[in-house]
Amino acid sequence: MKFLCIECDEQMSFETREQPGDGTFAAAFACPKCGRRIAMLANPIETQLVSSLGVRIGGRTLDEQPMELIRSSVAGRADAFVDEKDKASAPTHARPQWSAEATERLARVPSFVRGMVKRIYTEYAVDNAIEEITPEVMDRARTELGLEGM
């Protein structure tokens, strides 16, 4: 998929993406020559189709997670998956702490996919030497990693 600035006959560059709600998927592109910006809005069915393909508009910013599509899309049992690290009772002292607000927000993530989401935020915090995961950290990770909907 390519977007062309008709005025400049230039291919537009991907800028950002977001899921503002109602199943809408939004992606912004800009012309590198004149700076004109456009937004592509996908309706919920188009969003679902792209999501079902397991691809990311604008490209991937994060490696594919194990069973990412299944874990984020199937309405399954809450205890279907267990994290290897949790199972091994890995020491937690070296891992970032979750603030109460972040924990509360994480609890709102569907249980089927919660483990995967928690792992992504945790790894983001470890990579960035963040000792405590707060809602602000989660927002920053979402933007930087392209985790819309998580």
């Binding site: 919920p44 079902s52 397991g54 604008g58 899309s73 399954g76 205890d79 279907a80 290897e84 089927f112």
Partner: protein, 304 residues
């Protein structure tokens, strides 16, 4: 106004959707690198006991010390995990998910391990018009069953396909070097017609037909050891003749443990091992005899 074509706009596609799909496929290939053979079990018809045959065959081969895995590709009606007594939860690592382990250490991945008891497969987001995206999502789930599970080294990975014969095309897209397909039918004329269609689909896809299994081929009487007719027809034999493929086994129906069933399952495993050129594990002849004598395929429970 006139537009250039997609190819004429020479800048890269920032989304790289084709590349993303290419990486998904490559991930399947890489994951199956140590799997010697991938075999589909197909029928083209529901209710012929395809999953039972898959379960009995895989269990038998595993008991002979072959390394066996099973993907339950029947996402809407998954049964193989229960048949092989494989249970969750599934353990998620950094890059993959460990398969569940069933009897005889068969590695299993099935939607049955992920769904609540007796609940159908539902998608967390369902904006409607599911006919437009459901098969795409199901194909994605099958892809992840193949690409994201730590299958390790296997002699054979069986894929228990759903009744819809066209789904074989989805599998060949993901696994182009499929070792072949085993076709399951019951004796009836109705089954013959449906299974013939599935065989033609396989032929169109250049999938090698390893043979036909006729399931519920008579009724094994527990009281007198006789096998009596159950369905009219000889679909297994006639399909084998028409398509010039081996009839691998004719397995009778039995609601209880049956020597007749066990014998046919052993015969089936032996022929499949031979057809796939599976190298016998390291056992000497004496060990092989012990292993053979301990095989109890009826432990899978009554046939459907």
């Amino acid at each position: 106004m006139s537009f250039r074509t997609y190819a004429q706009v020479t800048g890269g596609d920032t989304s790289g959707l084709a590349e993303q799909v290419g990486r998904q496929r490559a991930r399947v290939t890489e994951r199956l690198r140590d799997v010697k053979r991938v075999v589909a079990v197909i029928s083209g018809k529901g209710g012929v006991g395809k999953s039972w045959v898959t379960g009995a065959l895989t269990r038998e081969l595993a008991r002979l010390d072959f390394s066996i895995g099973v993907v339950d590709a029947d996402l809407q009606s998954p049964t193989i995990a229960r048949m092989l007594e494989a249970k969750g939860p599934l353990v998620v690592g950094d890059d993959d998910v460990q398969p569940a382990r069933g009897v005889a250490d068969v590695r299993v991945m099935s939607m049955d391990l992920l769904l609540d008891e007796e609940r159908p497969l539902r998608w967390a987001s369902d904006p409607g018009e599911s006919h437009a995206w459901r098969s795409v999502a199901e194909n994605g789930a099958l892809r992840e069953f193949l690409s994201d599970v730590r299958w390790g080294a296997l002699d054979v990975l069986f894929v228990d396909m759903p009744p819809d014969a066209q789904r074989l095309a989805d599998l060949t897209m993901l696994v182009p070097d499929l070792a072949g397909a085993i076709t399951v039918t019951i004796p009836s004329l109705e089954s013959r017609r449906s299974v013939a269609r599935a065989i033609r689909v396989a032929r169109d896809l250049d999938v090698r037909l390893l043979g036909i299994v006729e399931n519920m081929s008579g009724y094994a009487c527990a009281a007198c050891s006789d096998v009596r007719p159950l369905f009219n027809g000889d679909a297994g034999a006639s399909l084998a003749k028409e398509f010039d493929v081996p009839l691998l086994a004719t397995i009778p129906f039995s609601p209880s443990p049956s020597d007749a069933v066990d014998a046919e399952v052993r015969e089936l495993a032996s022929k499949v091992a031979g057809t796939l050129n599976l190298t016998a594990p390291i056992h000497d002849a004496a060990t092989q005899r012990v292993a053979a004598s301990s095989i109890q395929p009826q432990a899978l429970g009554p046939k459907p």
